[in-house]
């Protein structure tokens, strides 16, 4: 009965979503406030039924109802309860259900938090979200329904959740990632509403910014969790592989980052309007494209979902309708929303434009690399296949990001409209000198070697950090007291600085880990040991161990630091009962300045095993930097001006591109 109830809830949600797609939008044309007002209750209704459907599927998993095909395929009675719940989104159908649940949650959140917005804007935004929801719901119900039953020949036992997914990191990774992907639908819906009305002003940008920040922060966390997971679960000790599936999550992130910055310009200066709209459409389009690439198997990847061309076709058609229509709307309506204010070549606008260009070019390069095997095959035929490896991405991406880091420092000191060269020079001279000097000296002293790549990275990191410290000092210098000055700076300012500090931390982590990691794959007999730096690893042999739903070969590695016992690490090889697949489980000692990473390879006779031992300095800083960036995004969206400032649309529309409201101006402008 429960699965039928879930199915019924999906159908009802689809009906409501169709109504939401049509009625409020129609209301904006007929001028009917009743119809426009329907958007809010309808989004609440959709959300309730999606929660109900999700609950039904979760219950089927928790009660081992293997008559539901999806449960039978992705669960097993031996599976620990926690993973039974997480298995709800462990494969295609259920993760699609989660996707639509999150989409409806964003819609519901918009309807709750939009009380200050003009009704016609809310109606349009909710209608656009209703269209997207209806599209994905129809796709789910008709091609990949998670509630399909196998009443004949109900299996007595399920096939089990993919062992790779039986892990905490990967159970929370998809919800965060989807929160990010789907969150961009709000910015997308606002962009479509702006194109339809032709009204795109500072107020519009101010409504859109917090939603974009929230989605971006979730996506940042989602990608970080994915990277962290691949670091400790895949057993290779790497944290980023430029795999197609990683790339498709990274592209919306890059465009979303560009969008955040371009929205700032649109809010403050009323320029880059059509560019901002295009970015908002692109960020969500790339999210959906990611969903397509992962689910259709069109590009071979290590962790793609099962391939099914029929499903892929339908999803492709859905993308064609949603993205194609919005881009055509953009092409027709963009001239209406063009900005009018002017700006000089060395204004903050231009520096943020450079930031945008660098981010978009990076995205385009990653897209090219991801699709290149397909392009090559389309041109040269199936016999001439190529693959694009990490060296391609590193060659392109590292110089572009170095440039981005440089301009990040410059733009902090630039002013809106026009910055005099003298102002920039006087502000940056000291910072530049200090960061370059320390960038050369510090690596020389610490490592004793001359490494230009490290020196450049250290200089860039210091450039960002010194820049933001000096900026805070300058901004508080003229205040009555330093403390009063610090309190006077808005949350969005601190959010920005925190996120930029996160960038510096991230660069430090990536650079030092890539250059100074020591990685050794060695064959060790019990009792033998090997030293890496201060650490000595002694292999204590392998014993059999029983887990809840797997048998493990568990190794003992005694680690000592400078001759003193430090800790015991137990990397494992697990063989899962239901699927019979083998999974490497690394053991990691996480530290602030370095990680010790151990993984068990294969047996090599005489009780000897191949063991993978890594010492990875500063790898923790990668996740920490990303976390700081996400926190910055959250902090910025908590800024006061996003909450109480019910700006009348008419008032803002009278003066396009005019100097924005004083509160906002105080926060970042000076």
């Amino acid at each position: 009965m429960i699965p039928e109830l879930g199915n019924f809830a999906l159908m009802l949600a689809l009906c409501l979503a169709l109504l939401q797609a049509v009625l409020p939008m129609a209301g904006t044309y007929t001028g009917s406030t009743v119809w426009m007002g329907l958007g809010r209750p309808l989004s609440a209704g959709i959300w309730v039924f999606m929660v109900l459907a999700f609950g039904c599927l979760a219950r089927s998993f928790l009660h081992d109802d293997f008559s539901v095909a999806y449960v039978a395929r992705n669960s097993n009675s031996e599976l620990p309860v926690y993973y039974k719940f997480a298995a709800v989104w462990g494969a295609h159908e259920g993760s699609l259900l989660l996707w639509v649940l999150i989409l409806s949650s964003w819609g519901y959140a918009v309807s709750l938090l939009s009380s200050k917005l003009p009704l016609d804007i809310v109606a349009r935004v909710l209608s656009v979200m209703g269209m997207i929801t209806a599209g994905f719901l129809a796709f789910m119900i008709f091609t990949s329904n998670p509630f399909d039953r196998m009443l004949l020949n109900t299996p007595s036992e399920g096939a089990d959740l993919n062992p790779l997914l039986q892990d905490f990191g990967l159970t929370v990774h998809p919800p965060f990632l989807y929160m990010g992907y789907v969150g961009f639908s709000v910015a997308f819906a606002f962009a479509i509403a702006a194109l339809l009305t032709g009204r795109l002003d500072a107020a519009w940008a101010r409504w859109t910014r917090p939603w974009t920040n929230a989605a971006w922060a979730f996506l940042t966390i989602g990608i970080t969790l994915g990277s962290w997971w691949s670091y400790y679960e895949l057993g290779w000790g790497g944290w980023w592989f430029w795999d197609p599936v990683e790339n498709v999550s990274f592209m919306p992130w890059l465009v979303g980052t560009a969008l955040i910055h371009s929205l700032a310009v649109t809010e403050k200066r009323g320029v880059f309007k059509s560019w901002t709209v295009l970015l908002a459409i692109s960020a969500f389009s790339l999210s959906m494209l990611g969903a397509f690439i992962v689910r259709s198997g069109v590009i071979t990847s290590v962790h793609a979902f099962a391939t099914d061309p029929q499903r892929g076709m339908v999803l492709l058609a859905l993308l064609l309708v949603i993205i194609g229509a919005s881009l055509c709307l953009y092409a027709i309506r963009a001239p209406v929303v063009k900005g009018s204010a002017g700006y000089a070549a060395n204004s903050r606008e231009v520096f943020l434009l450079i930031n945008n260009i660098l981010l978009v070019v990076s995205t385009a390069m990653i897209l090219l690399g991801t699709l290149f095997p397909l392009i090559h095959e389309a041109i040269y035929g199936e016999a001439n296949r190529v693959s694009v490896g990490p060296p391609y991405y590193n060659t392109i991406f590292i110089p572009l990001m170095a440039l981005l880091a440089f301009f990040l420092g410059v733009s902090t000191f630039s002013r809106w409209k026009k910055t005099s060269m003298e102002h920039l020079k006087s502000n940056l001279k000291l910072v530049l000198l200090a960061s370059v000097a320390l960038g050369i000296v510090v690596p020389l002293i610490v490592t004793g070697g001359f490494n230009p790549a490290i020196m450049l990275a250290v200089a860039l990191v210091l450039w960002i950090v010194f820049g933001l410290l000096k900026d805070i000092r300058d901004k508080t210098a003229n205040k009555a007291s330093r403390w009063a000055g610090l309190c006077g700076l808005g949350r969005s300012y601190y959010g920005m600085q925190l996120a930029h500090f996160g960038v510096a931390v991230l660069i430090t982590g990536i650079c030092l880990t890539s250059h100074y990691s020591v990685e050794q794959d060695v064959r060790l007999k019990p009792g033998e040991s090997i030293s890496i730096g201060d650490y000595s690893f002694e292999f204590g042999g392998v014993v059999e161990r029983k887990g809840p739903n797997y048998d493990a070969q568990s190794a003992t590695i005694n680690v000592s630091k400078n001759g003193k016992p430090y800790r015991v690490m137990n990397p494992e090889k697990r063989k899962y009962h239901a699927s019979g697949s083998v999974q490497t489980e690394a053991a990691i000692d996480t530290g602030f300045f370095r990680d010790l990473f151990t993984a068990l390879g294969d047996p090599r006779g005489e009780d000897a095993w191949v063991v993978r031992l890594h010492v990875k300095p500063f790898v923790f800083w990668i996740w920490m930097g990303a976390f700081l960036m996400a926190s910055g995004g959250v902090l910025a969206l908590l800024d006061r001006r996003y909450r109480y400032k019910p700006v009348l649309l008419a008032e803002a529309a009278v003066q396009p591109g005019s100097e924005p409201q004083p509160v906002a101006a105080k926060a970042v402008n000076t």
């Binding site: 295009l278 259709s296 076709m313 027709i332």
Partner: protein, 177 residues
Amino acid sequence: MSNRAKLFIPAIFFVTMLGLLLYGLFHDPSKVPSALISRSMPVFTRPNLFDDKAAVSNEQLKGGIFLVNVWATWCPPCHAEHPYLLEISEREKGVTFVGVNYKDDAQAARDFLQERGNPFKISFSDPAGTLGIELGVAGAPETFLLDATGTIRYKYVGAIDNRVWEEKFVPLLAQLR
């Protein structure tokens, strides 16, 4: 180019990309559904795998439900599905299992079946893969389901496991009976 036309660049770029993805979706021949579904089995005569002198023809695949499995010893997924084929061939008494040994060495195939068990009532070889061409076979394993009139009712590409069997074949078999 006029400013107006420039604004269509993103849309054109996107549609081109979709075209590429559409190509990507269908360029793999193993993914194309067989055009032969609901048609009869092509006319053929091929040597019996265990006896070169004897022949197997399409006439022998009529008057009952037949499951035709295209396999080869060089194909690892065929090795993977083999134990499961053995299991269902014992369970499903109403279905005649037919093995088409595809582009393979007949001796190696005989050894394989003798060593690991033979799920097939009828086995014949298609060393040149010509029957495979007529059936639209692009690789192995592929499995066809024939009804009593010798009409192809279903084709599955890839290894059969419990899930595929329960989801795809069992409902069809229930209809055919």
